[in-house]
Subunit: 398 residues, 2 copies
Amino acid sequence: MKQLDFKVQGFLFSGISAGIKKDGKKDFGLIYSEVPARVAGLFTTNAVKAAPVQLDMERIKRGLCQAIIVNSGNANACTGNQGLRDAKRVSSLIAKQLGIDEKLVFPSSTGVIGSPLPMKKIEEGIPELIDHLSPEGWMSAVEAMMTTDTFPKVEVATCRLKGKQVKLCGMVKGAGMIRPNLATMLSFLVTDAHIKAPLLQRMLEKAVEVSYNRITIDGETSTNDTVLLLANGKAGHPSLSHMDRDGEIFQSMLLKVCQNLAESLVKDGEGATKFVEILVQGARNKEDAKQAAYTVAHSPLVKTAFFGEDANWGRILCALGHSGVQINPNRIDVFFDKAPIVKNGMGVGARLEEKAGQIIKKKSFKVIVDLHQGKSQFSVLTTDLSIDYVKINASYRS
Amino acid sequence: MKQLDFKVQGFLFSGISAGIKKDGKKDFGLIYSEVPARVAGLFTTNAVKAAPVQLDMERIKRGLCQAIIVNSGNANACTGNQGLRDAKRVSSLIAKQLGIDEKLVFPSSTGVIGSPLPMKKIEEGIPELIDHLSPEGWMSAVEAMMTTDTFPKVEVATCRLKGKQVKLCGMVKGAGMIRPNLATMLSFLVTDAHIKAPLLQRMLEKAVEVSYNRITIDGETSTNDTVLLLANGKAGHPSLSHMDRDGEIFQSMLLKVCQNLAESLVKDGEGATKFVEILVQGARNKEDAKQAAYTVAHSPLVKTAFFGEDANWGRILCALGHSGVQINPNRIDVFFDKAPIVKNGMGVGARLEEKAGQIIKKKSFKVIVDLHQGKSQFSVLTTDLSIDYVKINASYRS
């Protein structure tokens, strides 16, 4: 663990065990801002949306949030009207005890889907949860949202905006490979910067586009995915409302924090033994590059070859060939890091292939595909497909 | 093994070991018709096409074929101009020794890609291959094209056309899960029926659409996939040229044979322990039904749950939600065989779920999804994702 200071002016955190998880680990967390914060958010594109996601998507329209509640162990998804009522009730109980407007409370959940929230346990846990709120409670809140994550994923960064020191702290929980039982990714970011909600939203979208939207583990999209960014303005600088030089400074800090968190997600992919960047370049356009990169990154044959440390480039060409992208097989080059393995659609020969074969033995490497069709490129981070992935996901509920 | 008679009038078969495979098993096969046969064919849609596929796609335009050569152990894919020259040379040597026109010979290959064909071994094997041709050689030819298949996949059927007995024999080799190192599916069908090439092609397309095109194991499409149907007319009935009553009889026999072969492919999927039909009904249109069915069938989370015998219906809803198909989550019903597990997007309760939980323990079952959006449906056969799949594919080349 990095020894980092996660205190951010005006934010309090808490995480406790409310008995939702069977193993007694922390499963109920709270992030609270002393004043209503500007909020930006992004939610799952899955048509099946968990109850808390539905509620947050409604509440975020006002642009303000003062508290995020999170529980693990139960996703509150596919729970119908009961699920919505439960999510509302949790937020209203929290709001009442914090003395704030219920609509400023954003619930979120992750875990098994299809079961109603254990409301009794949750209600009983609320006093303790609020009681534990403290500026130092960050790691407890992080632990409370972890599921199969093997380590907590946190980042902190600072910058100066209009002469004031500004801090940004981010946490994310396990896309795993991706999270089993609905692959939930939750990420919460808090800052004392003073940024108007529309700009904050644009900044978050830009950062997510090149971080969380660039990682893929098994191509699944959860019902619960949520990214929330809260800015409470406690740093005391004049408000940012458009993308000026200070805006750029914050944007670049936000982007870096999200990228680091996204990388740590992939590194903690369920059963992952490899951490691989797939870069497709020389595509006719961005869409082609993206589609080709994702097809390679999702190919079970490519991913099992990574796991087996087999520089089986034929599987990469095969994936490109059925990606739906217009390609000329005879012009494709492939490199593992800097070592060529395919030139003009053919193997480079045993001697050079051996070099590439050494690179695939590394924990982390890059696969570069050049389609030689144009100038666009797209990069995505992924993992291998391991025996442990199957084991973890075959037995998740039992 | 079924005790079946695979003799078809006017066809001879052969299969030998030419030393292409390392383990000394049969790897070189030949199907020969005493007279030029009408031919229909379907080839991989992968943009990366193996050399023999490129050649066959050219040759099939004439509508005639007299010999199919097949080798396993080497796919002759991603081998550039050398690969094309090699494929041509093999067919010309075979043609010369058989005393037939080279353009009537259709080569096909399966195995590791990116290596040139071992031409010396192949050339030396040709005399023996031809020498072994016999009406009883069917199973040797089947063995010669097997790779990780654990059993030979063959079908035979008969019917009467215009008063004459007609026979159809089919063989297919391993889509595995799907075939590693390019997932090749090869299927050859021979009949003594007399059917003109354009009608034969339409019949084959129709049969493949509801057989080989309805199975999916890992969503990969090989560079070498080939289906060829030869009709040599030896049964002696007047030629069929359009879809009359006799045409329908043959069509339905062809369809059944292809479906049986397709089912056996799935059952022999690499590492497969489950054989699952995914039926999506109540879709707005066929495309939606197809897309939803494939998304469920390809979902690693759904497939690992099958392997773990976990009736984790949330993963099915999740897959439907990110399938890109417009759905109303609150109207979705799901059944395992006849047992309901999801009603209106929610679990049916512990007692009923237990019943569905029993069904998933079976070797073979059906998942029925009703979207309640319309009247279209689509069905696809698939497998689970097992630990053995990863093992087989991680170590395929080593």
